[in-house]
Amino acid sequence: MIVLPLSHILIFSLVLFAIGVYGALVRRNIIGILISIELMLNAANINLIAFSKYTSLSPETGQIFALFVIAIAATAAAVGLAIVLALYRVRKTVQADEVNLLKW
Amino acid sequence: MIFGMGVFKGMMVTLKNFLTSYVCKPDNGGIFTVQYPEEREKVIENFRNFPFLVYDETPEKIRCVACGICERECPPKCIHIEMALDAAGKPTRKPAVFDVDYGLCMNCGMCEDVCPFDSIFMDHAFEVTAPEQSEGLVRHKERLMKSNEYFQKVRPTLASAIDQKRKASEDKKKAAAAQAPAPPPPSAGGPPAKQEPK
């Protein structure tokens, strides 16, 4: 197995997470925000697996939580995109700052 | 009736076709493709494609008299005829130019029908190629002229009928000439006999 220092992996996932946060903060398009959230979840997954690999927990734990995260991410994407489609059908826009009325 | 049997029925049909294409004769399920350049289907006698000019023994004795009837009757106007002139500038009743544009010709056979001198007939040639479209497909007199033997070979029934008719009219003319020799016939060709193309 290739031994990388744990801290390198953690910093990598931190940067990935920060990029995701940047996207989620800055994007106007709701789909763009969703994509950025997927990046953030991904960075969290890397952390989970790295921790369970490197520390003395049983190696399955982190992987199973990563599995759950992937499943939740898939549902989030599906539901979120369904909402986006419904929104687009009604308002003809997918820009987040144009739907700030919380109603239609 | 089991669900999905139609699927298997269809597959059996194609399987049968696949297998019979290897073992069977063309007329009961085999391959009936003709591998063209190597294998050729026999061209039937009444096949007609592109006109040609008939001469009798030598190319000088061409039957055509350049009357221009076919040129007039041709629906796509693909025939072009110019009569030859002798040294004195008198028409000689021979074609100097006889062009058929195969690119225009639509193989109707009208020229064959209207020709009163049994001169132009439809050919069996179908492998006509040219490197270029407009000029290359124009056939001049030299290439259009084919002997009576060739005509006998490709369309024997019609050719022998025409020969008999021409012989009969020749005989009749000779007999007429023997009876009344005084007025010489003005033309080399016989009197235009109404011909039956079939």
């Binding site: 290739i2 992996i9 990029i19 940047y22 890397i46 697996i49 991410a73 700052d97 | -």
Partner: protein, 174 residues
Amino acid sequence: MPILEIAAKFGTYAVMAVILIFALGVVTFRNLFHCALCLAAALIGTAVIYVVLQAEYLAAIQILLYVGAVVTLIIFAIMLTEHLAGKTARQNNSQSLLAIVGLLGFVTLLATLILKTPWPVTPTALQAKNSVMGLGKALMGTYVFPFEVISIILIAALIGTVVIAKKDAPEEPL
């Protein structure tokens, strides 16, 4: 074979760099379709990192679910909402600079923390082989309750998605 190991190590760093570049692409491209493609590339790269961390099963699941399903869903949504050949509108709001500054602070803070923490890395855990079978046993044994909860969430999400995205029935002609 030290040469191969060193090569693999630097390969891993290279993969990480590529992932970060693609992630930057995800948040900066104007064209959302390109963003989605970059996301797919970043996710595939993450799967490679999983393989390096000896989580092959997770890597395959990652590709299967993320690239095969989530990215496809996103592209579907992009195709259904974007105007295909039209000009792309301004994609970022005015918080860009603020976000960069804040996130730089966040990253430096956490990075120093990560570097200063003595991580309890155990050599035994590094040697431990985890098999797909062990994963399945854990999923069906220790973690069976969250597993069932996830399945209920999935069902709920399925039904909810259909209900939300369904077009309203056309009104009956009078």
